[in-house]
């Protein structure tokens, strides 16, 4: 299903308007079709949690989930999102895995500057949701798209294991 239609903008010219499901809410954005989801979230919708680090899919700071799958929002054109559920760092705490990962990140004081951590948490949450007891190799594979310039990798690994060992809750709110 494509939730896409033409409607007039304030300037009066025709533009594509997109309906996006972001963190459980339907949001509208009048933007060009090639606009990366990252910039729709940040500049149009004011969802500032996902970060810009490289714009070429090489750092993971912009990671969000599309239907639970981690993607680089800097390389995901708004046009390609369709009806997929977009979950960002601002909404991921409404899921069981996201809540556990965020709690583990806090308990282990993972962050230094913190700039990469929204992306790290999104990748880690997708991993835990898919693989409740990840091995080191699973962690390496799932987290290698996320750079931490401050090199907090020791605690990122420990926090993923910590989160995996926390009790699960039955339902997700998203």
């Amino acid at each position: 299903m494509r939730l896409r239609y033409r409607r007039p903008t304030s300037k009066g010219d025709a533009a594509l308007a997109y309906k996006l499901n972001v963190d459980g809410k339907i949001r509208e954005a009048d933007v060009e079709a090639d606009t990366p989801l990252l910039w729709v979230l940040r500049d149009t919708l004011g969802v500032l949690g996902p970060k810009y680090g490289c714009g070429v899919g090489a750092c993971g700071a912009c990671t969000v989930h599309l239907d639970g799958v981690p993607v680089r929002s800097c390389l995901t054109s708004v046009d390609s999102v369709g009806a997929a559920r977009v979950v960002t760092i601002e909404g991921v705490g409404a899921t069981d895995a996201g809540r556990r990962v965020q709690a583990a990140w806090s308990a282990l004081d993972v962050a230094q500057c913190g700039y990469c951590q929204p992306g790290q948490i999104m990748s880690a949450t997708a991993l835990i949701a898919r693989k409740p007891k990840p091995t080191d190799a699973d962690i390496d594979a799932a987290m290698s798209g996320n750079v931490c310039r401050c090199a907090t990798y020791t605690r990122i690994r420990a926090a993923i294991k910590h989160a995996a060992n926390q009790p699960r809750e039955a339902s997700d709110r998203l």
């Binding site: 810009y52 070429v56 004081d109």
Partner: protein, 724 residues
Amino acid sequence: MTTSIASRRDFLKSGAAAGGLLLSFSIAAKAEAAEAGVRPLNAFVLIAPTGLVTITAKNPEIGQGIKTMLPMLIAEELDVDWAKVRIDQADSDPKLYGRQFAGGSMATPLHWDELRRVGAAGRAMLIAAAARDWGVPATECATRPGVVFHPSGKSATYGELAAKAAALPIPDPASLSLKDPKAYRIIGKATPQYDTARIVTGAPLFGIDVRRPGMLYATFEKSPVFGAKVASADLAAAQAVKGVRKAFIVEGGAVLSGLLPGVAVVADSWWAARKGRDRLNTRWAEHPTSGQSTAGFARQAAELAAAPPARTLRNDGDVDAALRAGAHTVEAAYAYPFLAHASLEPQNCTADFKAGKLEIWAPTQNPEPGRQLVARTLGIAADDIVIHMTRCGGGFGRRLSNDYMVEAAWIAREAGAPVQLLWTREDDIRHDFYRPAGFHFFTGGVSATGDLVAWRDHFITLGASPDQLASSAGMAATEFPARFLPNFRLDLSTMPSGVPTGPLRAPGSNGLAFVVQSFIDELAHAAGADPVAFRLKLLGDHKMVGDGPGAYNAERMRGVLLAVAAQSGWGTRLLPKRSGMGVAFHYSHLGYFAEVALVRVAADGAVRVENVWVAADVGRQIINPSGALNQVQGAVIDGVSVALFQKITIEGGQTVESNFADYPLLRIADAPKVEVQFVNTDYPPTGLGEPALPPALPAVCNAIFAATGKRVRSLPIDPAYLRA
């Protein structure tokens, strides 16, 4: 509990307001007093009637944890519950707060004593207020967290006492006695960063997250050849892009750390601004530095090394005679490349220029020089500029420069609207103040008894002359092993460069530790000695060597070296083929660090760093063990990343690399296990942002030698050279 600048100033004038206690006084820190023109420190504590305590964090937060750590010092001596503490980030306002910068791992040594006294003075005033109420001597009163009490059973909360305490005179901070460290409840306890909950939920904390009403987004294209002027740009094409409001040429100047020439595109969204920029088709004017290159610098360095040095910085004994008399002579040429900072949050700044006044939101490590630069460049008064310091997505020294700040300010004034300037990653890597490349031509001599008897280093660095070195391109005449052997000579020659350079985490040391500790390793092997034993012998039985800024405590270095040898099982491990252990130590930023790396080198030459053990001596007290461990582990892995992967290449006067594909940062799968022990010694605590990094590089390279017999003499490590 957020207090605006204006109301804080009012507090300062009136002394008390709204039932709160304001504590403010100035102390000239010993280190600061030594430096001419340095302003005194001011620190602020506000206690609400509820007992909630607001502490102002004065320095920029770049991920070093300072926003949490400095308030811990105040809260400890104030004697409050950490859970009751709220932290406000200060704006840049040296009149209120003293110097505000994040650099040189200086925050701990500068504030350890003074900020505890800020807390102690507050506690003394609260006690005095209670004692007066109760008609008892203050000396009979004591505190427990948030409460003053008297043996008679009387007690009052800080919240109840705050207003009265504010009316009392501020005690002389020097007169106050501080807590016995055994009584600490906050200092020395692992304390998560204050902003943790906001970080993990993606709250807007960073410069890039600033939003202002009516704000536009800007991109700024500069010449790939540093500082070249704009010859032409198709502004109309950029302006034809939907969402673009304005495209214009910025004349700029010739000083690389200032406002440079370029083309600004301002739009409703940053994506639109970028699309506009892609249409500019900018042409750049000829520039005298367009011929410089990494290869050219290397060629020049080799030529300079063959000629007499421009200057001799130190000449102890007679190196040539000692070399002639020595049993073994080793010669080696070492080199390290330019490096970018690559903080994960690209450079950005938000500025709003209205009626001659400028408001700035900047992720900066060093706001005041930025204020001066902006004032000078825009021709406005420094007092008409307000600078809010946002959290920084990494600093590493990059944000000690304020080029992005002056660009944002200029563009905002031209645009007539609040503007957020955001650099692309490519801008960030191509317009850095790089760690300067450097070249060292060593000759060393070892005696028949296995002693290091002669050392000569001809250091070839960037600079117009030995008196005008490029930023961060120098070397002290006291750099180890100067003073530890009888015949030591340090020569210097320079080559001019138009590459912008500046401090990168552990400036100087991040290159020097690699070359010095690697060459010492070569000499240890030439002497047939164990690398730890050789180093211990070199350190000798000295305690302090030299004094002043070049003082070197050999006893502390021996302490960490012995500690790391024991911790790593040095000399006791049976390692598989092509695995090896290497050791290195380095003193910088007042910290003594020794590290051992264990590496495995695959048949194809790929290096895997498995473990790094660290022994660190930063004095008698680790203030926040959680932050301290995170800093050390991060710095070590940062060092491993630099050794394995990183280099900036200059060709045709331009930076070749542009993004994380060609300037790779280490990822989780390559991160070694880093085990850290803090060796406590009875010295004042010092900083941890930097000194763990330098020894990691030579420890890895020395381990590679142990594993393969191949000596890494230039970085980054080249796997092709290490093939079996």
